[in-house]
Assembly symmetry: C2
Homo-oligomer: 229 residues x 2
């Protein structure tokens, strides 16, 4: 049993609501069994290298071959740049394929996932990498816990639902990679700017309730998710 | 009159539909008047530095001051790191504020804008930078032409409209920065994978029609947008 924990907040840990919440989940889950494997990747301190022409050239060649499963990537590589791009990509893909639980710290930046998280998504979503020999997804049993924090409120009834390009986006992208919809949990902490921005003080009680609900939900999830016996 | 042209495709120019289309628009528009200023920024060849803790610390301090307009950023900077982050940010912000037309090459990557473009968005969307002394947006008169290319079809009737997290996203983000909705044009080239992926050949006529319509629309826009007299 293995937990892969990603953070993408550009804030320091102490200042970041999403980092504090993913840390809470990871500590709780790990306390449940000390034999679990755990890997933490900080997408800000250790950014995923941006994709470029060699990544695209190899990806296009794979697509031209119709993404047969399993893809023989090594046979399709033509240049040293493509080899380097593939090695970088495969390492990150293997990290996901080898995990049972994926914990994604994903604060809303400008209504969507941070660029640091999108860089990881753009790199690992390589043609065929999550497709097994029988055509099924290697992520079918992956459990995903997304933790998102947002300066304002974007939930049902907030009037700003249409500006949430993060939660629906991650749900769609994960589902397209073969993650089962029932295995995706999105935990939200809303109105984090209420503590900071003058004139937004009246939102502090709602912000506190949202944070408390996120704590509770993460505690339940950390206990309810399968742990090694 | 000044055109700012951004590209974010990770493909080489010859392989990139969005780069070819933005190039067509830029050449047509510039041919209309050789006195126009023109600046091209390649967000892949010359990536925007990712934001980090110093950027966030300064941004939060500005927000704590309630984003008075005009913000006296220089007076709020406390460290050398914050100074460097602000200098990087201000240069990119000034590029936008000083332009009359913004041309955005934005291919759809995994249903959303490429990480390279999101890195630019995350950096320039700094508290208060587009708010003028009278509270109005400095982008109210900016004309924006978005060129997006997509491997499949995501338009009305395609059945995949809900997977388009790019066009509605850019429209929302631009509007929130003060760009007038009537000043935003989004030009689409669909089904670009029809030329590449085995089994998708039947989509080639529709792909060709989509590309031809994009060419025509960009030609009209390049002629219809204001040019210097």
């Amino acid at each position: 049993m293995r937990l892969l924990h990603l953070d993408s907040s550009a804030h320091r840990a102490a200042e970041s609501v999403s980092r504090r919440l993913t840390d809470l989940f990871a500590r709780t889950w790990r306390a449940g069994n000390d034999r679990a494997e755990y890997h933490h990747r900080d997408l800000v301190a250790d950014p995923v290298p941006p994709i470029g022409p060699a990544y695209c050239a190899l990806g296009r060649r794979v697509e031209q071959h119709g993404v047969p499963a399993p893809v023989r990537y090594d046979e399709l590589i033509e240049t040293e740049d493509e080899r380097r791009e593939w090695d970088l990509t495969r390492a990150l893909v293997d990290e996901v394929r080898g995990s049972d639980v994926l914990l994604l710290g994903a604060p809303m930046y400008n209504f969507a996932v941070p660029a640091a998280l999108k860089a990881w998504i753009d790199r690992i979503t390589f043609p065929g990498v999550f497709t097994g020999a029988d055509g099924s997804s290697s992520l079918a049993d992956l459990r995903v816990v997304v933790v998102t924090s947002r300066g304002g409120a974007y939930g049902p009834g907030s009037g700003a639902e249409d500006l949430d390009f993060l939660a629906p986006y991650l749900r769609s992208w994960l589902t397209k990679q073969g993650v089962a919809a029932r295995n995706i949990e999105i935990v939200v902490a809303d109105r984090t700017l209420a503590e900071i921005v003058p004139g937004y003080e009246q939102a502090r009680p709602a912000a506190a309730r949202s944070l408390a609900a996120a704590h509770e939900r993460l505690g339940v999830l950390a206990g309810a998710l399968p742990v090694p016996t």
